[in-house]
Symmetry: none
Subunit: 414 residues, 2 copies
């Protein structure tokens, strides 16, 4: 059999108006990826007969498994079946079983059934019908030459029900899918996307199975290793061989895999060490401690925080010395140092971390926007203070600062 | 001029694997809709030279305004410019200003710039360049015959910055946009979506221009009024007539419009009253104070916070009495009362607000998950404490608690 090249068509003017995101395409794609089916295109078109025909016609030419969602409803806007009928040369007829189900639905809900609802019982000749238990329009499979077409309603709940309960098992059978696909995400911090890639460029060039896909996001980089094979064991074997080579080169920056986050990795390290933590936060405003408290079970690790945004609070509540503030200002190495030391003592924790800096929009105390100091005190060790210069919006600078705090802690605790 | 028929192309294999949803297409579409530009297609393609060329070529044939996002980065996967150069017959050259900005970025961050980053400075001949202040790859506009092409990075933060700060004003000018659409969002708190809809149901049924669209989200409800017309004045006139009728019925729940948030509305009210604020937070973990500190200019209003997550911190740092904790526990009316009073005195602010409760996953001190107390002390007024019972996940309970705190403050201050 020819290799499957899938395409997902979403029909609906609301998508083109930006009223909703095309989450159907994402969800279906991830299901197909798990089955080892390659998706080459997503295409979105409005409820317009001419353009719908054009999009269906294009799919017919370039793909051999096409999943169409949306436009199966009862209204005059719903034109998917009519357009497909014209392009695929398939007649539509009224499917009696489906019609009965629709009538039963209206009777049960004691709503009069309007005539336009009969339209939902129209199906293609020779189609395999997938009954819809979450709504009215059924799903369908039809074939033209060597191409398979699946039609599904656009309501995500109905579409997912039909995919999981009917379409996925059907595709496995129909296409004798034996293909397995497995992927593993490696998560890195403290290294940029481009240096990571430079260190792995030969692997990335030579590898086609497993593939290596990098993705950078807010101070972190991930690598997704994806393997395809006829056996699940072989998939995992391929991945672990490649992972070993990757880790040899850049393993020291890797903090976790798959659904790990730097926040829960640090949380687990704190827990393992039986460490408690507190923070003194100025520009970050509580964002650091908040990310730990958001994790279930936080109370065994997190004591609390003093958010000392105002200078007075740094002096009066956090006891940063008058001298430090006068001589160095609040955005300074000595201030970060005292903040870390004082919070650790005040809250009697094993770890104290401090954040002070200028997130903008205006320079303060003569320090440019983006200047940040992070202090870290671990019981029995001297305080350490690092200076950073971040760029971008206020929000971005604050997020990067918090992330950098987690990075520092990770390096210390691992 | 020919009517604009827009198309949005998203480039990235991660989209076809279903790892992320194409939220860029949605966001851009809604922006274009607001400008009265029709979007006819969204098309998504992977990082594959042949298929990229095919998709770009198709857009060239059927659309006259094409926005391409993604694939402008430094890696070998990033092929958008190369594929477009081939289809549009435009040469690429190294843009010196952009290169300097990229070099500056690396110097400032004290990271060695790898050679592949030069690729991000490649731009099309005759292109208008939109500098990117949130990242490295700039945006671009080029023209072929009567078709306009816009290229933007795929990172949503960078794409939005370039759209809002450069592309939208540019399109208005370039295409002398005259079709007008105006919308206004009314924001409500303290009323549910269904009661709001019941009070407005006749208006919602009879109105087609302007339309009324309700949306509920995390304890708030919004109504979007949208009017279309050939004149801007007429649009605003239609909207203000409808707004007047809506406000007559439900105006007392309306806290703001458009981009207002309950957080910045409360912030402005605090500022207007020359009030300073501090918070004592347990289950919310700093989330309340963080939402205020995230606003530019926070320093004139926010003093700080004590995040007293551990019971010891409530006693030792926030000075809640031993007696209160022993007799009533930390999730109690008296504890919230003392927390609000103490933080206001300790930080010497006009307003002190406190949050204590159980966000789950397990009951604590015999109090069921979702039990929350919020204390509010305003200088010269007695402390008030309210009790709530929220449902849902840990994250949801914590967010609802913070939102409820802002609602209470809003009612007090307005």
């Amino acid at each position: 059999m020819k290799r499957l090249q899938a395409e997902i068509i979403a029909v609906g003017t609301e998508l083109l108006l930006g009223q909703i995101a095309n989450t159907n395409a994402q969800w279906i794609s991830s299901q197909l990826a798990d089955m080892g089916i390659d998706v080459y295109y997503h295409h979105t078109v409005g409820d317009n007969f001419k353009r719908l025909k054009q999009v269906i016609n294009l799919a017919k030419e370039r793909s051999n498994l096409i999943i169409v969602t949306g436009g199966l409803g009862p209204t005059e806007d719903d034109l998917t079946k009519e357009a497909a009928a014209a392009v695929l040369h398939k007649k539509l007829y009224e499917h009696q079983e489906t019609l009965k189900e629709i009538e039963t639905f209206f009777n049960k809900n004691q709503i009069p059934m309007t005539e336009n609802n009969r339209k939902q019982a129209q199906v293609f000749e020779e189609a395999i019908i997938f009954p819809n238990h979450e709504g009215m329009a059924p799903g369908m499979f039809v074939e033209t030459d060597e191409t398979g077409w699946i039609f599904l309603p656009g309501v995500p709940r109905e579409m997912k029900h039909l995919m999981l309960d009917h379409v996925i098992p059907f595709l496995h059978k129909q296409y004798k899918l034996q293909h397995h696909i497995a992927s593993k995400v490696l998560r890195f911090i403290g290294i940029g996307e481009s240096s990571l890639e430079t260190k792995l460029s030969d692997l990335m060039k030579s590898q086609s199975n497993p593939t290596i896909a990098p993705l950078a996001n807010e101070g972190e980089v991930t690598l997704r290793l994806t393997a395809k094979s006829d056996s699940k064991t072989e998939c995992h074997h391929l991945i672990s061989n490649l992972e070993e080579e990757v880790m040899k080169r850049v393993g020291k920056y890797c903090y976790g895999t798959d659904n790990d986050t730097i926040e829960n990795t640090v949380f687990k390290l704190l827990k393992k060490n039986h460490y408690t933590i507190s923070s003194a936060e100025s520009l970050t405003g509580g964002k650091f401690i908040e990310s730990l408290i958001s994790l279930p079970g936080a109370s065994s690790v997190v004591s609390g925080s003093i958010v000392s945004y105002g200078t007075d609070i740094k002096k009066d509540v956090l006891h940063v010395s008058q001298e430090t503030i006068e001589q160095h200002g609040t955005v300074s190495e000595p201030c970060a140092r005292e903040m870390a030391l004082n919070i650790q003592q005040l809250m009697n924790t094993d770890v104290g971390i401090s954040f002070t800096g200028n997130a903008g929009p205006d320079p303060s105390e003569g320090k440019p926007v983006g200047t940040v100091f992070i202090g870290l005190k671990i019981k029995g060790q001297p305080v350490e203070v690092k200076e950073y210069h971040f760029y971008g919006s206020r929000e971005h600078i604050r997020s990067r600062t918090v992330k950098k705090g987690f990075e520092l802690l990770y390096k210390k605790l691992k």
